[in-house]
Symmetry: C2
Subunit: 441 residues, 2 copies
Amino acid sequence: MTKDGKMRLGLSMRYLGYHVAAWRHPDVPADGALSFEYFLSTARKAEAAHLDMVFFADGLGIRANDNPKGSLARDMRNAELEPITLLAALGATTSNIGLVATASTTYNEPFHIARKYASIDHISGGRAGWNVVTSWSDEEAQNFNRNENLAYEDRYERADEFVDVVKSLWRSWEDDAFVRDKESGLFYHEDKLHVPDHKGKHFQVRGPLNSARTPQGEPIIVQAGASEAGRELAARCADVVYSNSHDLKHAQDYYGDLKARLAKYGREPEELLIMPGITPFVGKTRQEAQDRFDQLQELIHPLSGLASLYNALGDLSGYPLDGPVPDIGGQKLRSIASNLLEMARTEKLSIRQLYQRVASTFWVRLAIGTASDIVDEMEEWFKNDGADGFNFCPAILPGGMEDISDLLIPELRRRGLFRDRYEGRTLRENLGLKPSIFKLA
Amino acid sequence: MTKDGKMRLGLSMRYLGYHVAAWRHPDVPADGALSFEYFLSTARKAEAAHLDMVFFADGLGIRANDNPKGSLARDMRNAELEPITLLAALGATTSNIGLVATASTTYNEPFHIARKYASIDHISGGRAGWNVVTSWSDEEAQNFNRNENLAYEDRYERADEFVDVVKSLWRSWEDDAFVRDKESGLFYHEDKLHVPDHKGKHFQVRGPLNSARTPQGEPIIVQAGASEAGRELAARCADVVYSNSHDLKHAQDYYGDLKARLAKYGREPEELLIMPGITPFVGKTRQEAQDRFDQLQELIHPLSGLASLYNALGDLSGYPLDGPVPDIGGQKLRSIASNLLEMARTEKLSIRQLYQRVASTFWVRLAIGTASDIVDEMEEWFKNDGADGFNFCPAILPGGMEDISDLLIPELRRRGLFRDRYEGRTLRENLGLKPSIFKLA
């Protein structure tokens, strides 16, 4: 729970929603992922609901492979706007909502990233956030002069140094460095310029950044660390963490573990906000909510469904969809395969039923029910050390955002769990984070 | 001259204008280079005048050094918005004007550049252009893991391959590849996807790009090739060239040379538009124009002036500004030094008078006079194979753009040399370039 007893809420709006069949839903504009108007109108709905921020995940290329053959051509994850340019454009066309986009530390340079996010913070008047990720797929590596991905340890070592360099670039100039005195001709105070001159294992970056301190001081840092190295990076540097938990126990364990890591970096527990993802299917009745979910599940193309099982169970395209799940052997992901096969046997699931479990929402936690049901669960997590708020990942957009505005937000406000206006000027202020004070490393 | 007899006109708006003392002018907001509103209001003035495009030059860091000591702190070129994010934001807030920004091929990756410019083309409805440059300074190299800049030949070899990779990524998908058929579940036609799978000397990029063909087909390519390799790159790939000529003879030689190079790449002369830079000081009378110029010249801080002479003539800060120009020896740029010293002797220039010649407008051609005087010169260049149009580089902004709108554009229209409305939907159409037809390399 946060100190002020209010949840922090974000909207994640990648592609056309977080359900694999979102694009086939009758209410969804199937070409929306290339339309700025689509994202702008959805972001404005989120802003009208006073959400803290919108968020864009990212991959540096198409990460899905075409297994079984023909599945990729049924996948909506093939063409989209690029998130940094999209963020800048939203910065110029929205007023209050925070703007967070993903950029990889694996295939970028710190100078570019420091500069672009600082620029977006200036353009948006202090609403920019950088979601720090490492890139894990061979498909992305192959777009950047490599045959295969970097090893886990190398990725995180590079990410750690990358973030440090970015932060030192953001601290090139003190807050009041630029005096711009027309009379004397002095543009900046020389003693308020600090050239980073970083020389490390992965990067050599002299600086300074050719930008001033930003309206937030510095853009906020978002992370989604689940692994050991990811959690340490989050504890050291992040302002917000997007987590992924399917039950309260897991959420509490994660929350407790991460908050406990802060002290060794001289940080207070409230300096890092933990926001699990949630995909709500909300209806005026439980049946209506379930019907909405079932409608999308029916729209999963069998090839998309089989693709979601491929890495664990192999190519099942030669077997009857409504028959039992065969163990054809040769699996690469042996432990996941065992779990899935056991689930299928215990619950007597057909291939179709199994892929409906797996394919639906890219692994984000589902919440199906009335507004009261879903807010009950959110409140329970929030008040019992499982979350400081939530990152909504609607199954379809813009419809899913409309449901949040119309059904969930009023219920959250009725219980005093969410704001009814923006109190701060910047994202950092609205999140209740401490001001970013200039300091040298 | 263009085929339709109309000039193409652009506005270059780096920093606060192209005069080194622009920020000290009483009408210029000295903090404008970090203000999106500043650039937006200026771009909207250019759009109201129906200019073809606005343009942002760029450097990846602060390229000026602090010689003589103290000069850098008098220089406005220290903090600015980043041009790709600025371009995206302008794409969402303007309607018709073309949007061109610089990105270096020396310290970027083709996948990022292809993706970001495609995204801006989608966001802006077909108005994006990429100004292709190579980075030449050690200061930039030191922000990207190097001690010193790449050699000229390596830079251009890399640039050549870089542009080819970007173009092949923009041709990953045919125009009608994305069918998005909700009924059948088919998102794209597999036979309309073309994976570039580039393997070259500098880059290995598999692709495809995770974007569709853009409203322009592909963003336009701008270049400013002056050297041999730069001219070849422009002749092979560019749609627009920004050139720099100080007299008609030079402009004609350049124009003739570049247009003649097109044939060997299977291109017609009108497929490449040549637009020299021009910095107009325009007044209702010649005296008013001269006074405007003189006012800015007086505002050049002596340290900024001496900095403009430093690389050629060394540190002259110990000599009287109104005394003769000494030859203190040890010059690195011997031929430029000789020219400057000879000019100073022949014309009996003091140090101050010499730096006023050199420092004023970053080497862009000056035109000082009434609207009629300046348009006479533009018309002469345009009608005598010196230009297809011009790239205005006003000394101060937004005032310089207001002078263009109020004084130069009406005179150009009176003579039938410039449009009075946007006829096309995209930048490519407004420039009168051929449509970008999908083809594989």
